[in-house]
Amino acid sequence: MSQLSYRDALNRALDEELARDDAVVLMGEEVAEYDGAYKVSRGLLGKYGPERILDTPITELGFTGLGVGAAMVGLKPVVEWMTHNFALLALDQVVNEAAKTRHMSGGQFNVPIVFRGPNGPAEFLSSQHSQALASYWVHVPGIKVVAPAFPADAYGLLKSAIRDPDPVVVLEAEMLYGFKGEVPDEEFLVPIGKAAILRPGENITLISFSKPVHLLLQAAAELAKEGIEAEVIDLRSLRPLDEDTLMASVARTGRAVVVDESWPAASVGSYVAHRIATECFDLLDAPVEFVSSEDVPMPYNHALELAVQPSVQKIVNAAKKALYLENPHG
């Protein structure tokens, strides 16, 4: 077991999969000569050469399409988007080509491709570069979507994504690249479609994915000081969603807080909340609470930037509301 950063865990996964399968290639802006904008691909060009580690022009639609075509004829490309904000340019290739080809070719072509890069707000990046766009991908049938919050999951899920026969979007988090955690030394995979219970608890279920999972753990620790045992669930996979784990937990606790750092409307979190409200209707003692970012473009002012996002205090307040421990009128 060694301590690895989230960045190095991704690097190790790429390295191992490149070594394991010659069909795996990495492509994207500055992934080769510059080691990647966030240094996830450090050292890979030297090891695997320019035919497998490819710097591309600054044209997301172009190189994403290149990757989809390559996947259809036998390669297993990993396409790095410098951030998911820029991936909006590539939506058509992902939604209309990668996600549809298996279906529309009657199973003749599958598209074993991975799209990965940081998603969600970091800091001081203002409105256009701070977006949490998970629902853009989760919305579409034909794509799998994973969102690791810890180095071990980043490693294990990226490896599973590369080996998956279908398109997988990996949502990383810029603020987590330097986060260190235990990663077993021996090779392992984290299956796509399995959530993780990070902390067991009987009173309320807290649910999120990616970076806000760390807020859940802090909120659970705060709640524990008041004798409230919160169960913390890291979804890890957003599509497919591990509903069995989710519903079993909420069935036990009767209350849920879903946290999503994206905007509230048509978000992954609002969908998860809807699923819980539907599947666990008779077992809920309170409406499912939902903590998201405020419904505004990200402000540049740092105080406002922090204020619009989910926080430990907002999660604690939502949990208490669901537990009827705080009067909403104060």
Binding site: G254, A265, L284, D285, A286, D295, Y324, N327, H329
Partner: protein, 440 residues
Amino acid sequence: MAEPILMTALSPTMTEGTIAQWLAQEGQALKSGDALCEVETDKATMTYESPASGTLLKIILQAGSAAAVGQLIAVIGKPGDNWEDIAAQAKSATAPAPAPAAPAETAKPSPAPAPAKAAPVSAPPPPPAPVPVASPQSAPQLAPGVPRSSPLARKRAKEKGIDLRAIRGTGPGGRITVRDVENAHAAPAPVPAARPATPAAKGKPPVAGAAVKGLRGDRVSLSKMRAIIASRLSESYAQAPHYFVRIAIDMERLFALRKDMNQGREQSLSLNAFLLKLVAAALERHPVINASWQGDAIQYLPSADIGLAVAIEGGLITPVVRACETKGIEAIDAELGALIAKARSGTLVPEEYTGASFTISNLGAYGVEEFTAIINPPGSAILALGAVAEESVVRDGAVVPRRILHATLSSDHRVIDGAQAAAFLADLRAFIEEPARALL
């Protein structure tokens, strides 16, 4: 945001209430649970506690006026919140719906297709203001008389046989939460002691055929409960000179009354609740029965604290309903149900099962015709009830079938003389056979 305060059902049967007086004034800051107003219900005048915290923005229903359950009586919120919208919504919700225009249109012979014609009639609505993710301006309203409750609370209430209308919700807007259900009195659970009405002919003895494992040839050391039963009842039987007076009681009227009163109730009132009430009425008229031997004095007790013997795993326990003479049958029933449930789960606390001034032991569910019981101190009398069974009795010179209860009163002769015991039983029979007499 301002919130409506609705007339609420302060009793399970209340459908309408009149504001007797407002205890809070407009502009006053209130906490959830503060007295808001007094409401005259079908039964009594009760204090309506504020279901929410905030400032009382507007009193809609003035003192002296009546409103159906679910109707708006006031608005609460933050100072400066707009109460007019809520009042207007409430008005439009209760106003009779305007007659639809379509029938008039279609009544005239018209070649034009109706939908095309109907569409442009109303002016186009003003464009909606840009609102971030829509959140409803006010919670959807439930039908009058239906309390707000969480799904889990409803599920739990159903499991426990509790009528939600009898529970005060502590959640937002008075929502009944699972905690409220768990804190509420359970409705009577059917235990042998609570089912005396089964005619012996029909009823199966509840324990017949249940094979008891072990015991044969075993030596079992005394449980604490067994030891207490042994010492208390030995003491009672050895020291109190017991004598027994029996009476047969015609149950037809009481059964008819109970049937009437249970009409439309989700949860029937138990026969035991009626019996406790009528026994309390008889004790009121015979205070000598409601007494305790104290060696050098007799203590006549101030209220009818009636214990009901309940068989439980490993022995029996006698939960006590206090001051039955001051309580209605509903209250007694709810209390008894909760106590029996606690007795069976072993969670009674001492003040709930000690100090009965009078005790009832009901073995009717087992089909036994009659039996005698040992007095449960500190009381001086215990009433043993057998099964109610149809018997041939003579009424007005004719033999007719009647459902008869055989009751046996064990009395402590140091406290109660035979004639007093007999007079008590005679009055008790009169009350049971003609319950209206208990009102006199």
